[in-house]
């Protein structure tokens, strides 16, 4: 599982650049050459050309192939990064996506030429609607965070039309929520109210009741929670909110565990977002692009962003059925269509059985790790978990022993990408450093067993040779990186780029 690592002395493209080198040539100009200055008369031109690298194709390719070797990735490494759902991304996704029918699909093509694309969007919407148990879907949001934003905008528009826009100003968010939830609520113009979760991460119903008031617009809940636990009282939570006239938003970041097992709409959820890059295998791309469609209950449909793909008697069309009520647009054109195509291809392969099977095996794999590492690492809530299990460093990080960070770094030496650490925040993990492990359904039992062996070995190292762990990693092109310095003394570009 260990990787051969590339020469760390690899230079930056800007440093290997040499005047006169280049990769690409243009065809001979087939129209009369023009003098740019006179052709663009009246426009101000730049004084000097931008300092871009000048490299040959071999050096360019080799540069990136060397960088590739300095990266852990799902294709080469077990990558149990909690809350990120780093599952295998089937190769067919990118192969089909690179067909010219997709790569050269311009958004302003005549609608008659987009029929197959709009059909794909309609079908994908119907599938997400099925899985969510909610009747209407928009594919426009470009990411989960933008899905959250869109969802809250829709809720806001709904209350404004009801004449409650001014009074319903607050959004309730559990303290174990991902940071995007409160950030989104604030950007959407709401005040946030923090709901302290119970020790197991579930919602305290009495506390919730005391917080829900006539000024409550919505509650945002992550289910399964960021502690990897399925919220057992979703139906009751929805009732408390609905009785007060408020809405229930579900962050679907952890949908991988419950897809095909239960439909959030059946639990009383009014709005949810999907992270197609988590649940439906759109590759994570070193941080993006992804897609964050939202599904909504019937009463919220009129407020969805436009254009909406629709089937009519004359064929497929992109329409704006509610021009007065829609929130508008959150992204240009139709969202991250290329990402939607990959999710569509993946869901086509899963089908009904596959959706359920993924949920089951994701849950099984996480629980297997929980069972096998019980006693080796502290588990705050040792009960059946969903797609991920949260360990802490309580057993190791005492009397100056290695911390979650050290343990994570040591995993790298065994060819495994570290799990998510220090999230959920220590405030909700008893003050201990969280180590959140999400194996996903695509990993084999053998890989999980290897992981278990590695984690046991590291636990032993923490006792017998703590300095080895604290100095990890030892096998990477760079040793422990000074992240603090990156912030206190930021160097954000090659000096030669700006004269």
């Amino acid at each position: 599982m260990t990787t051969t690592l590339a020469n760390p002395a690899e230079k930056l493209l800007f440093e290997v650049s040499k005047p006169g080198r280049r990769c690409l040539r243009l065809p001979a100009l087939d129209v009369p050459k023009v003098d740019v200055k006179s052709a663009l008369k009246g426009a101000k031109l730049r004084a000097k050309p931008a300092v871009l690298p000048e490299v040959g194709e071999l050096d360019l390719v080799r540069h990136f192939k060397n960088l590739a070797q300095m990266n852990f990735s799902v294709d080469r490494n077990f990558y149990p990064l909690g809350s990120c759902t780093m599952k295998y991304n089937p190769k067919i996704n990118v192969t089909l996506l690179s067909l010219p029918g997709f790569t050269k699909a311009h958004p302003h093509l005549p609608e008659a030429d987009l029929q197959g694309h709009i059909e794909l969007m309609c079908t994908l919407e119907s599938w997400l609607s099925e899985v969510s148990g909610l009747p209407a879907v928009t594919l426009q949001p470009a990411a989960g965070a933008q899905g959250e934003m869109t969802g809250l905008m829709v809720i806001k528009a709904y209350f404004e039309e009801k004449g409650e826009g001014k009074t319903r100003r607050k959004v309730i968010i559990p303290d174990n929520a991902h940071g995007t939830n409160p950030a989104t609520a604030a950007l959407a113009g709401f005040e946030t109210v923090t709901l302290k979760g119970k020790a197991d991460g579930s919602v305290d119903l009495d506390l919730l009741k005391s917080l829900v008031r006539p000024d409550t617009a919505a509650m945002m809940i992550t289910n399964p929670s960021t502690l990897g636990i399925i919220e057992p009282r979703m139906v009751e939570i929805a009732k408390i909110l609905h009785d007060a006239g408020a809405q229930l938003y579900m962050d679907g970041a952890n949908m991988n565990a419950i897809q095909g097992v239960v439909r959030p709409g059946d639990l009383g959820v009014d709005v949810m977002h999907f992270n197609l890059h988590k649940t439906y295998s759109v590759p994570h791309g070193s941080g993006g692009p992804g897609a964050g469609p939202i599904a909504v209950a019937k009463h919220l449909e009129p407020y969805l962003p436009y254009p909406r793909p629709m089937k009519t008697e004359k064929g497929y069309t992109l329409a704006n059925p509610n021009p007065k009520r829609t929130i508008g647009k959150v992204r240009s054109f139709f969202g991250n269509y290329g990402a939607l195509v990959m999710a569509y291809i993946y869901m086509s392969q899963l089908g009904r059985e596959g959706v359920r099977r993924n949920g089951e095996n994701a849950t099984l794999n996480a629980n297997y790790l929980r069972a096998k590492l019980r006693g080796v690492y502290h588990i705050q809530n040792d009960k059946a978990c969903a797609h991920e299990v949260v360990f802490t460093d309580a057993f190791q990080h005492k009397d100056g022993g290695p911390s979650a960070l050290d343990i994570a770094k040591r995993m790298i030496d065994y060819g495994i990408h570290p799990m998510t650490i220090y999230f959920p925040l220590p405030a909700v993990t008893g003050g201990h450093g969280a180590m959140m492990v999400e194996p996903t359904e695509t990993e084999s039992k053998e890989t999980l067993d290897y992981f278990v062996e590695v984690m046991k070995k590291i636990a032993q190292e923490c006792k017998e040779n703590p300095d080895l762990v604290k100095a990890a990693p030892h096998t990477t092109p760079v040793s422990r990186v000074d992240e603090k310095k990156a912030t206190t003394n930021p160097q954000l570009y090659c000096a030669m780029c700006i004269a």
């Binding site: 940071g179 950030a183 089951e360």
Partner: protein, 465 residues
């Protein structure tokens, strides 16, 4: 089973290790009456799963009901452009799993590949814009402008604590997609969006601008080249914004224009955002691509998005890592200025490969070819009887507006020409106007075909006013 490697025997063994009888037991927290069972076909109406061969056929079938820019002589842009993408880009970014199947580089020791390319990308954007800070990319040009607006608002709140500045000025012809997204974000943030029209020359109406730029506003945005193709005098906007102390944002719809035009830093803007699709990203009906976002270094602490910095490892060796995370949502939660938590790294990687593959000289040459072809197309199309340029004499880079008559599309399609984009909905008096876009992919032969088809289509048509 597709993508599942656990065998039935594995599952049995794992359940035993967990100490439960069935997987169903692990879902005890889901109310039993709401749980979907495998035999419960009514609850989840999805089709049965297909194999790779079947899915490939299905996708080909869907695509048989589409046409793409490559099927035509194609003259539409409006924010997304039909550029050539080098095979090198796809080989590295799409088909090599090393970048596409990695995540945000939280653990720098095993993510130096990603961190290095992001640093190089930031450097390339700095080179193009001349501004010192670039983030690791946003969703698209439109939402990047919305984020710039929010950043401008936060900057103004810090700088002018006693002033209630709540207006955001969109000056001149802004891409309607951008304006729509900005409006959506502004609505919930309680920001008033003020539009300044363009004048008869296609550029910002200077008198209207002077009126709109006052101390009620916190920022002004100008797109150049603007939606109608005309290159704006960004420097003049900066000058007009000086006295009322506004943040000036430049939006760039066609990133290739930065190869030739005055750089945003030379013009003196505070923030420059733009659509990055032109830089090595496929069209995909408009996404995914990325928005670039750069600013003067003074504004670093309010920047949205991920930022990578050079640093060192514990042995003093050069290394890269994410930086300044305290700006971001996972630390600041409801006090964050943006909720952005991922970025469009892979699209940024494509841009970096594209810019490096063309290189310093090649990128300029690409822009020069575009200008030459645009000039040729402008002359040829405006020579068609009944057709004229809407902004004759205005400086344009790759797009321009012609006045013809409405409803010409079908006639052009018969000749396999997708002519300029009808912009009658863009404002009053635009009936029969078309926004024509040119790229390096456009050939003289295609332009001539457009001219021929347009000539025929215009025969016998009264000239529209």
């Amino acid at each position: 089973m597709p993508f599942i490697q656990n065998t039935d025997a594995d599952r049995a063994e794992m359940l035993k290790a967990i100490g439960v009888r069935s997987i169903e037991d692990l879902f005890a927290d889901v109310p039993a009456n709401l749980r979907i069972r495998m035999d419960d076909k009514g609850k989840l109406k999805l089709p049965p799963g297909k194999g790779e061969l079947e899915v490939t056929r299905h996708i080909q079938d869907l695509l048989s009901r589409t046409k793409n820019a490559g099927d035509y002589a194609y003259f539409r842009g409006g924010g997304i452009y039909n550029h050539f993408v080098s095979t090198v880009v796809d080989h590295i970014a799409l088909f090599d799993g090393s970048f596409i199947t990695a995540y945000t580089p939280y653990q720098p020791e095993c993510s130096q590949g990603t961190l290095t390319f992001i640093y190089e990308f930031q450097s390339a954007i700095c080179a193009l814009t001349g501004l010192e800070v670039s983030n690791a990319s946003m969703y698209d040009g439109a939402s990047a402008l919305a984020e710039a607006m929010m950043m401008g608002k936060h900057l103004a709140e810090d700088r002018f604590r006693k002033e209630k500045r709540n207006a955001f000025v969109l000056a001149g012809a802004i891409n309607p997609e951008y304006a729509q997204v900005v409006q959506t974000y502004a609505d919930v943030a309680g920001i008033k969006v003020v539009r300044v029209p363009n004048g008869a020359d296609g550029r910002i109406d200077k008198q209207a601008l002077a009126k709109a730029l006052n101390r009620k506003a916190f920022a002004v945005a100008v797109q150049s080249p603007n939606y109608l193709g005309v290159i704006e005098d960004v420097e003049a906007v900066v000058a007009a914004a000086k006295e009322p102390e506004l943040i000036v944002i430049q939006a760039v719809g066609e990133a290739l224009s930065l190869a030739l035009l005055q750089s945003p830093a030379e013009a003196g803007v505070d923030i420059c955002i733009g659509e990055g699709q032109s830089l090595g990203n496929h069209q995909f009906l408009g996404g995914p691509a990325f928005g670039f976002f750069s600013a003067k270094k003074d504004w670093l602490r309010k920047m949205p998005g991920r930022i990578v910095s050079e640093t060192t490892d514990k042995d003093g060796k050069r290394a890269f890592s994410l930086a300044l995370a305290t700006r971001e949502q996972h630390i600041r939660r409801e006090k964050a200025t943006s909720n952005i938590c991922t970025n469009q790294s892979l699209c940024a990687l494509r841009a970096l490969i594209h810019l490096s593959a063309w290189g310093k000289e090649g990128f300029v040459e690409l822009a020069e070819h575009t200008v030459a072809k645009t000039q040729y197309a402008m002359k040829a199309l405006s020579a068609v009887p009944g057709v004229s340029l809407v902004y004759p004499g205005a400086p344009v880079f790759n797009e321009f507006v012609i006045q013809a008559t409405p409803g010409l599309e079908k006639k052009l399609l018969k000749k396999k020409v997708v002519g300029g984009l009808p912009i009658d909905k863009y404002g009053k008096g635009r009936r029969g106007q078309y926004l024509v876009a040119i790229t390096e992919v456009t050939t003289k032969q295609e332009i001539d075909r457009y001219v021929e088809a347009l000539t025929e289509a215009m025969k016998g048509k009264p000239v529209a006013v």
